[in-house]
């Protein structure tokens, strides 16, 4: 059996050369790579032996795996995913129990220093018993597998930044991959869940160029996370004109006006949703009528309510306002009484001056 990815796509899945090149050009454009590189991407994908991948899932909801594998079957993205040598993925692999763990050991030994580690989910640092696989705590598994990996891809906001488990009050002491592993290149593909083509794009980039794509300061590939949702949003003209939906079913919402007042976090979110879109390019949340919740940014769960507009404080201030008025009132009256006393005192202390006094001085 041929082992290169291109051969598998062609022979086993009947993907035509034309479709394959089309896919390569989509990858290239989504990563903002010059079209002149398309043949190179195609060649690398076709010739490179299957990349060994170990996928570790920690505190996660499997939404990320769902997004990547079941988005719309069977796309070329999912084929790529399936046809990398996914040597260990406890949701997708057939083997279970000891056999599964043995497969992981084998893959690690066979590809020492060369395999790619993909992680979804955050790592609990509170009690190692919070999350274990085959009796091994998440942090131990991560350290062990990371030590032999060439690079790590943290898929989803949980692995990239801590995500939902890390949200206040963070009962398990959840942390991101980059808080534990500091000596390996880490690519954060954030999003809850991330866009499928972003992960295949990053894998293709690694295979083609053998180096990490350019990353932003949060470790995310710039080609996907360099764009601001608000800057690319098709509702932006309404924002500029001051036309806002006030409610999810009012006339403005039906006319597709801007969702800023309904809590859209597009202005503070960097992701490719507005351009790549979801479900094979069908639409994205804002197009479906819901504001962006900012899922690709760290701590987005704790960044104020999803439905509170960016311009308003994250929490109601009615009580605080009342208390401040009461405190100000009490202090003000106290100050007023003191001032009045001071004035009365000053009046009482005044020395009277008579004409005689003045005459004497003059």
């Amino acid at each position: 059996m041929s082992t290169s990815l291109g051969a598998i796509l062609r022979e086993q899945y009947g993907v035509s050369r034309r479709d394959f090149l089309k896919f390569c050009s989509v990858l290239a454009s989504s990563m903002a790579i010059s079209p002149t590189f398309i043949p190179r991407i195609a060649e690398a994908l076709e010739k490179t032996p299957r990349q060994s991948v170990i996928w570790l899932s920690f505190q996660e909801c499997t939404g990320c795996t769902e997004s990547l594998t079941r988005s719309n079957a069977p796309t070329l993205e999912s084929l790529i995913l399936e046809q990398i040598s996914l040597d260990y993925h406890h949701t997708l692999q057939a083997a279970a129990g000891d056999a599964a763990e043995r497969a992981r050991d084998l893959a690690m030994k066979a590809n020492q220093g060369k395999y790619l580690l993909i992680v979804d989910g955050s790592v609990p640092m509170g009690n190692s018993g919070y999350s274990t696989i085959a009796g091994i705590s998440n942090v131990d598994a991560l350290r062990e597998v990371a030590s032999g990996a060439s690079a790590i891809i943290a898929v989803g906001t949980c692995a990239a930044f801590g995500g939902l488990p890390h949200a206040n009050p963070n009962p398990t002491g959840a942390v991101s991959v980059s808080e534990i592993i500091t000596d390996k290149p880490i690519i954060n593909i954030s999003g809850c869940p991330p866009i499928p083509v972003v992960i295949t794009g990053v894998i293709a980039h690694l295979i083609t160029f053998g180096v990490l794509p350019e990353l932003d300061k949060l470790g995310r590939p710039l080609s996907f996370y360099g764009q601001n949702i608000h800057d690319r949003c098709y509702r932006r003209p309404f924002y500029e004109k001051g036309l806002f939906a006030e409610d999810f079913d009012d006339a403005g919402a039906k006319k597709g006006w801007c969702l800023y007042k309904l809590g859209c976090k597009g202005p503070v979110t960097y992701n490719a949703c507005a351009t790549l879109k979801w479900n094979d390019g069908v639409s994205f949340p804002i197009e479906a009528g819901h504001g962006c919740i900012g899922c690709s940014e760290p701590n987005f769960w704790d960044a104020g309510g999803f439905y509170r507009p960016l311009a308003v404080p994250t929490e109601g201030v009615a009580q605080l306002t009342q208390m401040a008025f009461a405190a100000g009132g009490a202090l003000g009256i106290a100050a007023g009484v003191l001032n009045a006393k001071k004035r009365d005192h000053a009046i009482a202390e005044r020395e009277t001056v008579s004409i005689d006094d003045l005459k004497r001085k003059g």
Binding site: L218, N299, G304, V317, T321, A324, L331, I333, G336
Partner: protein, 219 residues
């Protein structure tokens, strides 16, 4: 602290601290002024104190002829940036959203491009005012540290707001956070500096007008 956490802080705890200090400060200053009271005037009234007060509150907004002839630039820039600030604060949609949060009701905003233009004009007027203050020997002599402080904390929200709108310099969460922070600094300083004139101006005019009105003379 990453930028999202920073933005969450200025929208959360930071805002609460600033608002708390602002309200307490304003109420204290206001009560202090009113509790000082006004000496009762036993003379027979020759006119209405209330009418005099109302008249003066408005009439003082119109520059006197001789003052106008002496310092046109100052008066015009002063008007431009005060009116500009008011328009921006009250008619930018995100600001109205904030007011609605407090008041329970909102009003129609101006299109962003219009507010954007007003912001540029307002910043320009403020800069002219600063240059004048620095160039005029008398003005410079009577200027204190507080004058420059107050100018800065007024200018910064405009500048950061403008930068946030145009995505200049920083990432949007950072610059939006800085904008909110600059307003919080303004709120904290407001009751304890000359910025308080926004309120005391009316009290002072009212008192003067009432005294004059009682005496039946023009203030």
């Amino acid at each position: 602290m990453n930028e999202v956490a920073f933005l969450a802080w200025v929208r959360g705890i930071g805002f609460q601290i600033a608002l708390g200090i602002f309200i307490v400060g304003m109420v204290v200053r206001w009560l202090e002024i009113f509790l000082l009271g006004k000496k009762h005037d036993y003379s027979a009234p020759k006119g209405s104190a209330v009418q005099g007060a109302i008249h003066t509150i408005f009439s003082r907004s119109i520059p006197e002829k001789s003052t106008w002839q002496r310092s046109r630039v100052q008066i015009v820039t002063g008007y431009v940036f005060h009116v500009g600030l008011l328009l921006i604060i009250l008619f930018l949609t995100p600001h109205i959203t904030l007011f609605r949060e407090f008041l329970g009701f909102g009003w129609a905003g101006l299109p962003n491009s219009v507010v954007d233009l007003i912001a540029v004009i307002t910043m320009f007027a403020l800069l002219v005012a600063l240059v004048r203050r620095l160039q005029d020997p008398v003005l410079r002599f009577i200027s204190t540290f507080q004058d420059y402080l107050v100018w800065t904390v007024t200018f910064l929200p405009l500048l950061t707001g403008y930068m946030a709108y145009h995505h200049l310099g920083f990432s949007y969460p950072t610059i939006l956070g800085l904008h909110i922070l600059s307003v919080e600094i303004l709120l904290v300083l407001f009751p304890f500096t000359k910025l308080m004139h926004a309120i005391t101006l009316f009290i002072a005019r009212g008192f003067n007008g009432a005294t004059a009105g009682h005496k039946g003379v023009q203030a």
